[in-house]
């Protein structure tokens, strides 16, 4: 595999060199062969060719000429090439941006009548040697059955299990997604399920796959704490994602994500109906490392809390609802990648780091979130954050009728949930401790951040119940919003929680302990408490032990 990777790397490096030489000052009357072909070849043809996802080919003069106006328009608008992070907030590999010169050249070519130019000036069209951009994969797997995407209707989000039945664990350094119906498959997030729940759900209602996020991201009972498949590590058990136009990449620093023995891959797929019925049966090529990597990739997300406990509750019509949180790393880390996750009404996602010396580093910014493009971005080189750096993350939502992505017209109140018309939101990072010896400390900090935030939210909910009975919905929303807006999160310690939250939470938990043995057994957990308990039951064995209870009341 190594040789292939080097070759792929060289090819890409050559590509990058070509690109930088293409930025001459914009001519008033550019020609195809001299000015336009280099831009198109370097930025468009990789997807706009036969067998790839883009809807039409952009290679020859006539291909490009007949779409000159469209190309000029969508590049000026920033719709193409698809690239969503705002410049100046992190530098990433495979950035697809056109320079101001290139934009002007495309525009001028359309305006000036699309001259062809001298034939001998035409650069060599790009060659795409292999079907697999990273060479032959170590393991090729496919959805067992094709899923039929209807001709029209709203976009479809659906999960499909690819059973692997691996006898031993593998380490995934990269993967490539190959759709069978490229016009309809827009993006895929690869998740891992060790519970077997997804396998049960898949096809249970007659058609392949299942909706929602059931069973996804949960590690098997007793799996090693802090593994990259641990939900508390924030990676949601994933291998990463792919969207139309995405270039498959091998993780830097020899890193790899763990694929445990017996785990299933779950494709979380997003389809655009294309106007005709199409069958999709996705193929995935996986690239493994030979052995367990020396450094451990940890995912974390800000805000860290998933679940209804996150308090996400967006009133109908609210155009700028914010969720924000901070995380301070106790050890030096290298950020490897970043992305965001929100659903339809997500609007912005932003993260900045404040270093111990006060330097502020912008890490990531999407100013016009589009659920269609849930890219994960890899920093061009790992970004070192010294111990004591605080990473701030915030996501905003636009639940007004001015947001064309709003699934409801007129807008409705939208709460946290797993279906795509519910909401959730975080900036998601992957990182490695600068020293592998700091792994446990970093993991513990990530976990504490989650538990802390969960407690804060639980407290808020319990407080509401105690104060306002069951009203928590209508009248309190304004207050809750105020709390969100004004909240100035402090350190990662539990000190943010004001009042006698421990007493109240403790009392509530004590009520559940019907047999008074100091533990909460599975049959003592009622439906109303189940969601809260998930965050207190830190080892996820389905019960709250004395130790877990004492952590709540004593820390």
């Amino acid at each position: 595999m190594t040789n292939k990777l080097i070759r792929a790397g060289l090819a890409l490096a050559g590509f990058a060199a070509l690109q930088s030489s293409a930025t001459a000052a914009a001519k008033a009357k550019p020609t195809f062969t001299e000015d336009i072909a280099p831009i198109i070849y370097n930025n468009c043809t990789e997807c706009h060719r036969d067998g790839q996802a883009a809807p039409f080919t952009l290679r020859t003069y006539s291909d490009v000429k007949k779409r000159a106006r469209l190309i000029s328009k969508v590049t000026q608008d920033g719709y193409m090439p698809p690239w969503h992070p705002v410049e100046g907030h992190g530098k990433f590999v495979d950035e697809r941006r056109l320079t101001a010169d290139e934009l002007a050249t495309l525009k001028n070519w359309h305006k000036s009548g699309m001259a062809e130019g001298p034939a001998d000036k035409l650069p060599e069209p790009p060659q795409f040697a292999s079907d697999w951009l990273l060479g032959k994969p170590d393991l090729i797997v496919q959805m067992p059955k094709a899923y039929t995407v209807k001709a029209d209707g709203p976009d479809i989000y659906r999960n499909f299990v690819i059973p692997l039945d691996l006898k031993e664990e593998k380490w995934v350094a990269g993967f490539e997604v190959r759709p069978s119906a490229r016009a309809v498959l827009h993006h895929v997030i690869l998740r891992i399920d060790q519970t077997g729940e997804s396998r049960k759900a898949d096809g249970a209602k007659g058609t392949p796959g299942f909706s929602g996020m059931r069973g996804i991201g949960r590690s098997a009972r007793g799996s090693r704490r802090g593994g990259s498949n641990d939900v508390f590590s924030g990676s949601l058990g994933g291998l990463g994602g792919w969207a139309v136009g995405g270039t498959p990449r091998i993780l830097p620093l020899g890193l790899a994500r763990k694929l445990p023995a017996g785990a299933d891959i779950v494709l979380n797929s997003h389809f655009h109906p294309s106007g005709k019925e199409e069958d999709e049966q996705t193929t995935i090529g996986l690239y493994f490392t030979d052995k367990k990597p020396e450094r451990t990739l940890i995912g974390f997300q800000i805000p860290p809390v998933f679940g209804s406990i996150s308090g996400l509750d967006i009133p109908a019509g609210e155009s700028n609802y914010e969720l924000a949180s901070k995380f301070t790393t106790p050890v030096a880390i290298d950020l490897i990648g970043v992305g965001a996750h929100m659903h339809y009404i997500g609007h912005t996602a932003k993260a900045t780091a404040t270093l111990p010396d006060g330097t502020v580093k912008p890490l990531f910014y999407i100013d016009d979130w589009d659920f269609n493009w849930q890219g994960r971005y890899t920093y061009d080189k790992p970004l070192r954050l010294p111990a004591g750096t605080t990473v701030e993350g915030s996501v905003t939502f636009d639940n007004s009728d001015a947001n064309p992505h709003n699934p409801f017209n007129p807008p409705r109140r939208i709460k946290w949930g797993l279906e795509s018309t519910d909401e959730m939101g975080s900036v998601i990072f992957s990182a490695v401790p600068a020293n592998e010896a700091d792994l446990d400390e970093f993991n513990a900090a990530v976990r504490d951040h989650v538990i802390d935030e969960a407690r804060l939210m639980a407290e808020r909910r319990l407080g509401e119940r105690a104060g306002g009975g069951r009203s928590g919905r209508g009248g309190n929303i304004a207050n809750r919003l105020e709390q969100f807006r004004n909240r100035r999160p402090g350190s990662n310690s539990g000190s943010r929680l004001g009042g006698d939250w421990r007493g109240r939470l403790g009392a509530r938990l004590k009520e559940l302990d019907k047999n008074n043995n100091g533990e909460i057994e599975p049959d003592e957990i009622d439906d109303r408490s189940r969601r809260t308990i998930r965050f207190i039951d830190t080892n996820k064995d389905g019960r709250v032990s004395k130790e877990e209870l004492s952590r709540i009341s004593g820390r």
């Binding site: 294309s274 106007g275 992505h405």
Partner: protein
């Protein structure tokens, strides 16, 4: 085939210049001749402009066929128009089969019809009333707010609203909306086509 195209090219400009008197003839890719304005039952004539390889235009295929089904029996004559030179009758037929399009198909390689309706985008609709007056040109509905900004479902269905109004006997002033989609290529048109 050629004769059919000529018939179309010749019949239309005259028809629109003097809509009340002319009997415009439209010849589809199967050679069938249509005279929508000849019948007193015709309440509206719709031209829907498509490009085979325009994804936005293709996304609309099921809705176009539904509109055809819903309105054809009520006195609305609907024609699908291909303005692209590289779409010949065979390609248009294959495309219609692939996307289950039901309405008659017309080729407009010299863009006479396209220019007459002042259409520049696909998919875009031009609606004429029974007397041959252009009453609406623009989007089918507002499913797309912009490139890549697709709504869950449209909140305005401009083409259907226009047809409903005509069928209700309303006299409409000309209305236009902006259609989101692919631009039609006019760059190969001969000077005297314009």
């Amino acid at each position: 085939m050629l004769a059919a195209l000529l018939a179309l090219a010749c019949a239309w400009p005259g028809a629109l210049a003097a809509p009340a008197k002319a009997k415009p003839v439209i010849t589809d890719i199967d050679g069938k001749i249509h005279s929508p304005f000849a019948s007193a039952k015709t309440k509206a004539v719709v031209f829907l402009f498509l490009l085979r390889d325009c994804p936005v235009s293709n996304v609309y295929a099921p809705e176009i066929t539904r509109i055809h089904g819903d309105y054809a029996k009520k006195g609305v004559a609907l024609y699908l128009v291909h303005p692209a030179r590289d779409t010949d009758a065979k390609a248009a037929r294959a495309h219609a089969k692939e996307y289950k399009l039901s309405a008659p198909i017309v080729l407009d390689h010299d863009h006479k019809l396209t220019r007459l309706a002042k259409v520049e985008v696909t998919p875009e609709a031009a609606v004429f009333d029974g007397k041959g007056r252009l009453v609406y040109r623009g989007r089918i509905d507002n499913l797309y707010a912009d490139f890549g900004k697709k709504r869950f479902k449209p909140t305005r269905r401009d083409l259907r609203d226009t047809l409903d109004a005509l069928l209700a006997g309303k006299r409409l002033a000309k209305r236009t909306t902006e259609a989101i989609g692919c631009y039609i290529d006019f760059s190969n048109d001969k000077k005297n086509d314009k």
